[in-house]
């Protein structure tokens, strides 16, 4: 399946920016270097898409991608450059909104792009053991023993260490849909 087909056959749990980035990262243009639009084009695509998935997208990025793909399509030395340009165009045309949501930092609808995710501690599962607080290097977890811990999202750097430390599977990642959690520590029910 080529890149355009992959974009066309996108499933709901896939993020178009993420899929496109992976296509770009493994594209033959990266290993060639014989033409500016193929090689420097793929380099820019990779950097721009990576920024978008990492919440560092800029407002002009969609226009930049459009411009670039138009020229990669007509000015590359071989079909490889044209092919990836088609896929990017297809993605921008069909999933423009998804790009906008990423670029405006609203979120990753499919819940794939890690930088858009948040960590939460489920009150129903937390036993107030304090393990997650101990491993958090950013002091982003509030609470005390026997109290449901709460992650301060403004301090959290999404490192994921707390999730690994929790034996109760009480810590979850969430995309657009966030679970209901206490806003400050409350006594544990368990």
């Amino acid at each position: 399946m080529n890149s355009t087909e992959k974009i066309k056959g996108l499933k709901e749990d896939q993020c178009v920016v993420d899929v496109l980035l992976k296509e770009v990262e493994n594209h033959p243009c990266k290993d060639c270097g014989k033409c500016v639009f193929g090689y420097e084009g793929i380099t820019q695509l990779e950097m721009i898409l990576k920024d978008i998935t990492e919440k560092k997208g800029r407002s002009a990025d969609k226009d930049l991608l459009n411009d670039l793909c138009h020229m990669m399509k007509t000015q590359s030395l071989c079909e490889d450059g044209e092919e990836i340009a088609d896929a990017v165009k297809e993605a921008l045309n069909t999933y423009g909104e998804i790009f906008d949501e990423h670029i405006s930092k609203k979120g990753c609808r499919a819940g794939v792009c890690k930088k858009f995710m948040t960590y939460h501690i489920l009150a129903s599962k937390c036993v107030g053991c304090g393990e997650c607080m101990d491993v958090c290097e950013d002091d982003a977890i509030l609470g005390k023993i026997k109290f449901v811990h709460v992650i301060d999202l403004s301090e959290c750097t999404l490192c994921g260490k707390c999730m690994n430390a929790c034996d109760e599977d009480a810590i979850v990642m969430a995309g657009a849909k966030k679970p209901k959690c206490p806003t400050k520590p409350i006594p544990c029910k368990r």
Binding site: Y39, I48, D67, M71, T74, L77
Partner: protein, 695 residues
């Protein structure tokens, strides 16, 4: 056929690309990856143009002209493609131009300034790779590589060496040598084509090779530029490689009339500057010259210059290399030349200074008789003391080239004892066949090649123990390494870094008192500073002492011309203070070398010809030149090819007489040695890319 660029009618040849046609007609279209000598690839798209009847932008380098084609260089589509391409290139290129060695000469820099673009709207990332300056000739600074592929095409298609290619690295794709090999390991020929075609500062000549006081071309072909006579060395070496010794000899003779002499005794500035020397050892340029001179048939004689007689008379005083060279070229220019030589034979220092085992009489006779074929008179055993008298006698100009034939003694005790000689007298007597007698033990004072000439002559005259003492240490000594090695083999005992305090003895020399030198140098006022080691005095018993501490001209004080630094003739562009009297060679420059004397003789001939109303053009073309083969191919192990040395007589045999000690290289040896040449001049035939401001 006719094409139109921005409405301007241009004549284009069939099959040409739009880019070539435009540049040929003086119409500039930006371009980077194309090079006039390389096949166009169309990778950079800076040459994008619009063509009537075709949609979008098209690379001019890959578009063939058709009759009546209408081209717009700066149409909106083409302009957009061009600017975007340049922006993308700049986005990953190091931003700081001022720190780059190619600053001001960089095609990329020139092009983006012309286009006025910057990469600000794109993500910027420099693909940094460490500089590779491990090769002594070619530096790889690939952080600056823009992947234009010109070096690769030059190496692959133009040269056929095929060691550069696109390579994949952690920092991305760039030009380089695959499989992590060094240039030497890969079989590089070090032709420098890659350097020549690189538009940026990615492949450069090693920094220390590019001397700021020399021009670019002088730096690129250092053998030719540092030869005082500027012999076309790479060209004659190429001829030898092809087995064409006649052609090689003709090329040498275009600049010097003493090829065999030079091939035996030249000081070889060329070899000290040969880039091959940076890889392992220099090409044996000097001995290749001798090889060509020994076997050539004289085919060049058919083409020598012989201008019609001018009716002007020129006298040359002194038949050394400078005087004979001057006479040779003046005769070719149609002047009536007479050379006056004080000694019985012509040759100057070559005849009376350099020992016969280095430069035999037969060789000199042969070479001088060929020079005389130019048509001038040689009067030997005829001294001229006052050049102005010759002017009075009807000569229109006089060239004084009497050399430096008077040896000097240092003012130390015992310097006038019996058995104390000076270099010039000692060597001359030996060559004249009336050697000055030497005892069992001899001490030569001085550290240059002449000191070795004296010491080795003394050995050949039967001395059993010969010493050399000099102030300089081994690193400071001016004698060549070869001289020292051969001298040592013949038994010369060297006392480097020793001062000579006095010569002992009452009426006859019996020894020399030496003292060790700890430090010897010249201070900022050019004053010699000598620090001696206390208590290191020793007396070496000898029967004879020979001063070899320099020579000077004699008789110049009576010549009526302005002198300088004592007895040397002051000359500006070879003209002395007296109108019509010129000077060249050692008498002007101080004791130097045969090649410098010859170069001086040539320049003096030019000056005198102009003085006599001529054009000063003494140039000769003695053979046909074909463009050298560009496709040189790879040679495995090329960097390590060892220098071929000429066969030399064993020390035991050498010591017994004055026979020539070294054989010329055989033709096979010479062809093999010539194959080691890097052909540094080859890259000078690559077309220079004109920058936009040159259109």
């Amino acid at each position: 056929m006719k094409i139109f660029i921005d409405g301007k009618e241009i004549e284009a040849s069939e099959g040409a690309s739009v880019l070539d046609a435009a540049l040929e007609a003086g119409v500039f279209i930006p371009h980077l990856c194309s090079h006039p000598d390389l096949e166009a690839k169309g990778g950079c798209r800076l040459c994008s143009v619009e063509i009537e009847g075709m949609e979008g932008a098209h690379p001019a380098c890959k578009t063939e002209v058709t009759e009546g084609m209408k081209i717009t260089v700066n149409g909106p589509e083409a302009e957009k493609v061009r600017k975007t391409a340049m922006e993308l290139i700049l986005a990953t290129h190091p931003a700081d131009c001022t720190g780059c060695p190619k600053y001001g000469k960089c095609e990329l820099q020139s092009m983006y300034q012309y286009m006025g673009v910057s990469p600000e709207r794109w993500r910027k990332k420099s693909r940094a790779v460490p500089n590779d300056e491990s090769n002594p000739l070619i530096s790889h600074l690939f952080t600056r590589c823009v992947r234009c592929g010109r070096c690769i095409r030059a190496c692959q298609e133009m040269r056929g060496v095929k060691i550069l290619d696109y390579i994949k690295t952690g920092a991305g794709i760039r030009a380089g040598v695959p499989d992590g090999k060094s240039l030497a390991e890969a079989g590089c020929r070090f032709c420098g084509a890659c350097i020549e075609v690189c538009p940026t500062g990615s492949i450069m000549d090693a920094f220390n090779l590019m001397k700021p006081e020399r021009t670019y071309e002088e730096n690129v072909v250092p053998c030719r530029s540092t030869c005082p006579a500027h012999i076309d060395i790479p060209e004659y070496i190429r001829a030898i490689k092809e087995g064409n010794f006649d052609k090689a000899a003709a090329i040498i003779r275009e600049k010097v009339p003493f090829p065999e002499t030079l091939g035996s005794v030249c000081t070889r500035n060329c070899e000290s500057n040969c880039k091959r020397g940076e890889l392992n050892s220099p090409v044996s340029i000097c001995r290749l010259k001798r090889a060509a001179a020994t076997v050539e048939s004289g085919a060049w004689k058919e083409r020598v210059r012989k201008d019609p007689a001018t009716g002007k008379k020129v006298a040359v005083i002194g038949a050394g290399p400078s005087g004979l060279t001057g006479a040779y070229y003046l005769a070719k220019k149609g002047h009536d030349v007479t050379v006056f030589e004080k000694n019985a034979k012509a040759g100057g220092q070559c005849r009376y200074g350099i020992p016969a085992y280095r430069l035999p009489d037969e060789l000199l006779d042969r070479e001088i008789s060929t020079i005389l074929e130019a048509g001038f008179e040689l009067k030997t055993s005829e001294a001229v003391e006052e050049p102005s008298k010759l002017l009075d006698e009807g000569y229109d100009a006089v060239l004084v080239s009497i050399g430096t034939h008077q040896g000097t003694k240092l003012p130390i005790d015992g310097n006038d004892l019996e058995g104390v000689y000076v270099n010039a007298d000692f060597l001359k007597a030996a060559r004249e066949g009336n050697p000055l007698p030497v005892g069992e033990k001899v001490m030569v004072l001085g550290g240059g090649n002449v000191a070795y000439d004296c010491a080795r002559t003394a050995i050949r005259q039967g001395a059993k123990e010969v010493h050399i003492a000099c102030l300089e240490n081994l690193q400071q000594m001016t004698s060549s390494e070869d001289e020292r090695k051969e001298g040592e083999e013949e038994g010369v005992i060297l006392h480097a870094a020793h001062s000579f305090l006095r010569i002992t003895g009452d009426t006859k020399a019996t020894g020399v008192e030496l003292q060790k030198v700890n430090k010897f140098y010249f201070d900022e006022n050019r004053k010699a500073i000598i620090e001696l080691e206390e208590g290191s005095n020793q007396i070496i018993d000898v029967d004879n002492v020979i001063f070899a501490v320099g020579q000077k001209p004699s008789g110049t004080e009576k010549m009526g011309v302005e002198l300088t630094h004592g007895p040397y003739i002051a000359a500006k562009d070879h003209a002395t203070s007296v109108e019509g009297i010129f000077a060249s060679g050692d008498v002007v420059t101080g004791t130097r070398s045969v090649i410098e004397a010859i170069a001086g003789g040539r320049e003096a001939a030019i000056a005198i010809d102009k003085y006599l109303g001529g054009d000063g053009d003494i140039s000769e073309v003695l053979t046909d030149r074909e463009a050298p083969e560009k496709y040189i191919g790879r040679v495995e192990g090329f960097a390590g090819l060892e220098r071929t040395e000429a066969e030399i007589m064993s020390a035991d045999k050498r010591k017994c007489g004055f026979d020539a000690i070294e054989k010329p290289l055989t033709c096979e040896q010479a062809k093999c040695e010539a194959g080691r040449c890097l052909q540094c001049d080859l890259r000078t035939t690559i077309s220079k890319v004109k920058l936009w401001n040159e259109y």
